[in-house]
């Protein structure tokens, strides 16, 4: 079987690029811990308001963990609780959220915080808020008639 040397060159380039991409992402995911946000923990969606920590949404300082704060959100149709929150600049925060009814999205626009909130599951993600400013939280998973109005706000303050 005869392969033109240009075909070999192009295949080499393609496979090489693929190896580089997969290695970079692989190291980032398995060694540096950049994984998709999910926790696999489950929760009864009908009992969200009475199950810790979702019975007290908002920002809470924690001790003895790898993060300094826990930021708990509860999503429902069509709002987030809390509707706005202030986070100290530089804080390492674990964001935890769930939905009481249908699938919602949770995206903090302009950041890497982007996760789906499925009823029955808890989604979490740890990040460090190292840029001050006002960040919009929007629902990016169609959830019904009020989907486009669903938003919240994070203010990262000094």
């Amino acid at each position: 079987m005869h392969m033109h040397k240009f075909e070999k060159a192009w295949l080499g380039f393609g496979i090489g690029a693929l190896l580089v991409f997969l290695t970079v992402i692989g190291v980032s995911a398995f060694y540096l811990g950049n994984q998709p946000p999910s926790c696999l923990a489950t929760i009864d969606p009908e009992k969200v308001d009475t199950t810790a920590p979702f019975n007290e949404p908002g920002l809470k300082k924690v001790e003895g963990k790898e993060w300094d704060y826990e930021l708990v959100f509860v999503a429902s149709a069509f709002n987030y609780n809390p509707g706005e929150v202030k986070v100290p600049l530089g804080a390492k925060v674990k964001v935890m959220a769930t939905s009481k009814d249908v699938v919602h999205g949770f995206e903090v626009a302009g950041t890497n915080i982007n996760m789906m909130l499925e009823p029955g599951y808890i989604s979490e993600l740890v990040t460090t808020f190292d840029k001050p400013g006002e960040y919009l939280i929007l629902c990016n998973e169609y959830c019904g008639i009020g989907h486009h109005m669903m938003s919240s706000k994070i203010e990262v303050v000094e």
Partner: protein, 51 residues
Amino acid sequence: MAKTELQEKTNTKIETDEGSNLKGTLASVFLLGAFLIVTWVGVYYLYLDRF
């Protein structure tokens, strides 16, 4: 009624040249490859940049 051939069709020998010129193709795909690399790296740096 269709015209019938007056004589047998002669098989014309298909001429082979030295091989199609693939330089332009290679340049094009390498340009595409460069675009893919640049956009991939760009998005990756955006990801690293954001919190």
